[in-house]
Symmetry: C2
Subunit: 345 residues, 2 copies
């Protein structure tokens, strides 16, 4: 296994029959790990966004099944436990219906469970626990590879703008969009990061600024509206963002606000990279126009925490994601290497 940079935290820490989850809803104020030995509490943690980011949710879902298998009485038959895991899998998949890694991880765990044809319940439980650990480890390796390929694009002294959090807090490893930065830093390149705060949920302010500053990386926060002025001043060398889904033609769905950054980068002749694992490319979807965009609750815009910041009952336009057309993307940083966009513009 590839050497993993130690950032001093993990989104999830497995222990015997239980997991500890870093509660991201309490960042950046408090660094608290919640301990769960009941799979239903892990579902609640996913719903509450204690753990978020598609890859990290996949990891949590794998352990939700492993924890469920490890709980309960010892005199159960393997076949009974297999049936139980199938019956509760729907509940886990529904925790956050749009996170594709969640369903993928649950299905992978079930397939693995069904393949077991022994009758040793303790061995079966360990076998499932190891599968959850494998999902975690593979995600970590994917991040490391994205980091290695992406770091080659960065030069000592570069300033990188990112949007939202596609960092270690969103994955089982060192992140997707932030992986090249961590890896470049490891190789002795000084990288300065500018982080969009990313309204409405402020993942840039709460999470990206937190994990980068903890890792000793120079990070500067800005409101989302300031990205153009930042580029006009010549302060940005490169943009790297993550992706929630990428259509066959290369159009990218990512956190709302990404498209504004892309169009400004294009105007200023600044390279705009999307860092994401190959699993994010959805060849069943031709273009960005076909990607369904989740609409979020108006409360996320009209309130910060419990505090109202707008008149009661005002209409809100609150898409969770936007679509960045492929012609604005310089290249895609994946675990297999950097795929440059050859489309015109």
């Amino acid at each position: 296994m590839m050497k993993q940079q130690d950032l001093g935290f993990r989104v999830l820490v497995p222990e015997a029959g239980r997991v500890k989850i870093l509660d991201q809803t309490r960042l950046p104020g408090d660094v608290v790990y919640n301990e769960y030995d009941d799979y239903r509490d892990i579902i609640t943690a996913i719903k509450r966004l204690e753990i978020r980011g598609a890859p990290a949710i996949g990891v949590a879902a794998g352990y939700a099944l492993a924890v469920a298998a490890n709980a309960g009485v010892d005199n159960i038959m393997v076949g009974q436990l297999q049936a139980i895991l199938h019956s509760l899998s729907v509940e886990i998949k529904n925790a956050r219906p749009t996170a594709s890694n969640l369903a993928w991880a649950v299905d992978r765990m079930l397939e693995k469970a069904d393949l077991y044809d022994g009758d040793d319940i303790a061995q079966f439980r360990k076998y499932l626990w190891d599968e959850a650990a494998a999902i975690y480890r593979e995600d970590e390796q994917m991040c490391a590879l994205i980091g290695r390929h992406g770091a080659a694009l960065l030069h000592d002294g570069d300033a990188v703008l990112t949007h939202c959090n596609a960092g270690a807090l969103a994955t089982g490893g060192i992140g997707t969009a932030l992986a090249p930065i961590y890896t470049a830093d490891c190789k002795g390149k000084k990288i300065k990061v500018f982080a969009d705060e990313t309204r409405p949920l402020l993942q840039g302010a709460r999470l990206t600024a937190w994990e980068l500053s903890r890792a000793g990386i120079d990070v500067t926060l800005l409101v989302d509206g300031a990205s153009g002025e930042l580029m006009r001043r010549g302060l940005i060398d490169c943009v790297i963002v993550g992706a929630d889904r990428i259509a066959k033609n290369g159009d990218v769905a990512n956190k709302i606000g990404t498209y504004n950054v892309a169009v400004q980068a294009n105007r200023h002749g600044i390279p705009f990279y999307v860092a994401a694992p190959y699993s994010t490319f959805d060849d069943a979807i031709e273009t960005g126009a076909d990607i369904p965009i989740e609409m979020r609750s108006p409360d996320e815009v009209t309130h910060i925490g419990d505090m109202p910041i707008a008149p009661d009952g005002v209409n809100v336009f609150a898409p969770a994601f936007d679509i960045t057309p492929h012609e604005l993307v310089t290249g895609y940083i994946t675990e297999k290497g950097v795929k440059n966009n050859t489309a015109p513009e």
Copy 2:
């Protein structure tokens, strides 16, 4: 005087020797007027942003001097009072050094005071009070004219995107950027407004959404990052924003985030108008590159109210304004008419 649309509130209400100021720091939660009969309290109100927006600050500054002149003993000589007004004018001008209307209004009041050559103290006081009222009235008329010229650009059913608050709350009348919308509405055209929330100080959420919804105008709030997605969906016909300063070549300094909206409007072929009085054009400044940009306190980004939303001590890039290059501006809506931009692109 032109018929003024009644929006049910005024930024400032003059009464005998005193003024009531609508406390905008408490909007949208509470509609509270604070009563001031001491010019020093009016300075504090300007500093605290109880009243904000360059034209409205000019109105408040005029009344600060009028209130100062009306206070105090009756057995004072006109010459003494003239000298006192000069001595306290610096204090008023320093309330917010970047608001050009503030210094302009103070200077106008002083010039008018110096022109008075009678010796009737009561008459002198009324004469100054009337001058403050004249500044207010002229601002109101300027807004009405911008409204009339701008409304001619709007069609029934149009959807207009705006940024920050250049509305009635920022002026002595019906606003600059919002004036065309109020006027079009008065003429029976149904206009739908989309309001950027405008981080960091949320003037769009707190003020624009409040005044438009109060006036019965259909308003929808969005985070600043969502403007591109809104335009991609074909939901916007026209953008109208205000301006803090306009260079000789037409480059516009306005609230941070304006440039991102302009570059998206350009990409989507949507007209982008700047509504501002002629006094905003600063012919002493050749291009936007020469406009000094005030940097704000990091706290405005890292905290909302008193609530921290970012790690302690994080670096912050917090310019108050950005520069929109003239080639992205379709036209300027002024009290003298619409001046179309003939520059290429």
